[in-house]
C-alpha cells in the first residue's frame, strides 16, 4: 500500500463509493444466484475497493474500477469454491439470478432470466454491462479485463443468440410483436462507446 490518502480525499472517495452502491448491487445480482449472495458480494467489493483506494488513480473511471474489483472477486471466490468442492459443475453454478429483483413479478422476468441463462457467461456479462448497465465498450472491456473488440463481439453474439432463441420461441407461440428496443439500446451503447473514451 502506498501513502495514506489525505483525509479529505478519503472521505470524498468514500462518498463516491457510496453513490455506486446501487449499481454494484445490480451488477452483483446479475452474477449471483440470489439477492442475499449478491449483496454480500457487493459489500465485499466495497471493502476491497476501500482497502485498495491508494491504487485508484483519481480522475479515472471509479465506477468501472469498482466493478472490475467486484467481478474479479466474484470469479476468484468461485474458483476457490470449485477447488473446495469439486462436485459442483459449471452447470450447477452458472445460474445467475438477475430476475431476483422482481422475483414475484411475472413470467416475463423469468423468461428473461432463462434467456440469459442460455448465454455463455462471457456473453451474458458483456450484454448486461453494455445493454443494461450503460457502460461503453471500452469501460466494459476494462471491467472484464479483455480487449474492446472482444466485448463488442460478445455483445453481438449475445444478441444473435438471444434472437435465435426468441425466434424459436416465437415460432412456437406465434405471438409476433414489433418493437426494437434492444436494437435501439445497442445502437445507443455503440454510439456512446464511440463518443466516450475511457480517459
Amino acid at each position: 500500500m502506498g501513502a495514506p490518502m489525505a483525509q479529505a480525499d478519503s472521505s470524498a472517495f468514500k462518498t463516491e463509493l457510496a453513490e455506486l452502491i446501487p449499481h454494484l448491487r445490480a451488477f452483483a445480482r446479475s452474477l449471483c444466484h440470489n439477492a442475499a449472495e449478491a449483496d454480500d458480494l457487493a459489500q465485499e467489493a466495497l471493502v476491497k475497493a476501500w482497502r485498495a483506494r491508494e491504487s485508484y488513480t483519481p480522475g479515472t473511471n471509479l465506477k468501472a474500477w469498482v466493478f472490475m474489483i467486484l467481478r474479479n472477486h466474484f470469479y476468484s471466490e468461485r474458483r476457490k469454491a470449485w477447488r473446495k468442492n469439486e462436485v459442483s459443475t459449471e452447470k450447477d453454478i452458472e445460474r445467475p439470478g438477475p430476475a431476483t429483483a422482481a422475483q414475484d413479478a411475472s413470467v416475463q422476468l423469468e423468461e428473461v432470466r432463462q434467456a440469459l441463462d442460455s448465454l455463455s457467461e462471457e456473453q451474458r456479462e458483456a450484454l448486461i454491462l453494455v445493454g443494461a448497465g450503460g457502460f461503453s465498450y471500452e469501460e466494459a472491456a476494462e471491467i472484464c479485463g479483455c480487449a474492446v473488440g472482444t466485448i463488442k463481439s460478445r455483445v453481438s453474439r449475445a444478441r444473435a443468440n438471444l434472437l435465435e432463441l426468441l425466434e424459436r420461441k416465437q415460432l412456437k407461440n406465434k405471438t409476433p410483436h414489433t418493437s426494437s428496443v434492444i436494437d435501439t439500446l445497442m445502437q445507443e451503447a455503440a454510439t456512446r462507446a464511440g463518443e466516450r473514451e475511457p480517459k
Binding site: I128, G131, G149, L163, E164
Partner: protein, 72 residues
C-alpha cells in the same frame, strides 16, 4: 487500462460479426427483451440500499485496512 491492448490478446472470438443482418432482421422480440433486461437491472439500482450496507462504509475508517473493526 489501455484500449490499445486490443486485437492480439484474447480476441479470439469467432463469428461475432457475421450475425448483424440477422440481428437486425429479428430485432422485434429482442426489443421487448432488451427493455426487460434493462428494467430488471434498473429495478435493483432503484431499490433502497440495505442499512447494513450503508453502515458498512461508515465503519471503514481512514487508517484501517477496511475491516469493520468498530474502531470509531
Amino acid at each position: 487500462m489501455e484500449p490499445a491492448l486490443a486485437e492480439n490478446s484474447k480476441a479470439h472470438d469467432t463469428d461475432g460479426h457475421a450475425r448483424r443482418s440477422k440481428a437486425e432482421a429479428g430485432d422485434a422480440e429482442l426489443g421487448e427483451f432488451g427493455k426487460r433486461l434493462r428494467q430488471i437491472y434498473q429495478d435493483t439500482v432503484d431499490e433502497p440500499i440495505p442499512d447494513e450496507m450503508k453502515s458498512l462504509l461508515d465503519r471503514l475508517d481512514d487508517n484501517s485496512n477496511g475491516r469493520s473493526d468498530g474502531a470509531s
